[in-house]
Amino acid sequence: MIDNQGNVLEGDVAVLTTEGRGFTPEEIADRALAKIMYVSKEANPLIRDQAEAFKESIRHTLVFYLKQAVQSDRTTLANRLREAGHSDLIKILEN
């Protein structure tokens, strides 16, 4: 018997939520990393370790630049608030 089977498959999604805040650069970096590279648990240990180390270095880079983006956006927001006459609200944006 010749089997010519085909399957339509559906992947599993994950849901991430926050309360009273948005996601942190670290949390978003982890999500981005999962999209950028996947290291198989069955990979050769030597290659896997190298891949994991590379992944960690990418994570640091992502977090750094995501924080830069947040800071830069706050500068933009601060200027918008100042232009709208709400300079007092700028302090809220400061960490």
């Binding site: 085909g6 559906e10 992947g11 994950a14 939520t17 009273g20 996601f23 999962a34």
Partner: protein
């Protein structure tokens, strides 16, 4: 000469691209890709393989959520790896939202809201004055959200 009975991988990709029509097909106004959306539902919803289209019944309501849900961005247009055709959507977020959802429906906003896939979250997920993000699986032939193997 080697002969292997198989369903052509290119055919699987073509199916995802709407190339073949074995039955009566729709009349398309353009060659643009359809718009796909994702709507959230409460645990009271009845959604499964028999669902045929988007419905407002038991759809989530709350701050930061509008009926119909979010428009999805196709992060990877239909492609194939080995003999599996697949595609990927970009993660989607409802910002500053106060909502609770138990599942979601991906549907074709362009083609009369026809259903594509039901996504069960495995329980209630809640955001309170925060972000509610649906994270799509790894974009490859083993995990992607929609695959034809």
């Amino acid at each position: 000469m080697a002969i292997s009975q198989a369903m052509a991988t290119s055919f699987k990709v073509d199916l995802l691209n709407g190339i073949h029509a074995f039955g009566t097909t729709v009349t398309r106004g353009s060659t643009n890709a359809d718009t796909f959306k994702i709507a959230l539902y409460t645990s009271s919803a009845t959604l499964d393989a028999t669902t045929t289209a988007y419905t407002v019944t038991n759809e989530v309501s709350g701050t930061g959520y509008s009926a119909g849900g979010n428009t999805l961005t196709v992060a990877q247009t239909p492609t194939s790896t080995s003999t599996t055709a697949w595609l990927d959507f970009a993660d989607t977020t409802w910002s500053s939202a106060t909502i609770t959802a138990n599942c979601a429906l991906i549907y074709n906003d362009t083609q009369s809201d026809k259903a594509v896939a039901v996504l069960a979250f495995g329980g209630d997920k809640t955001s309170t004055n925060g972000d509610f993000t649906v994270v799509f699986p790894t974009a490859d032939s083993s995990n992607a959200i929609i695959r034809i193997a």
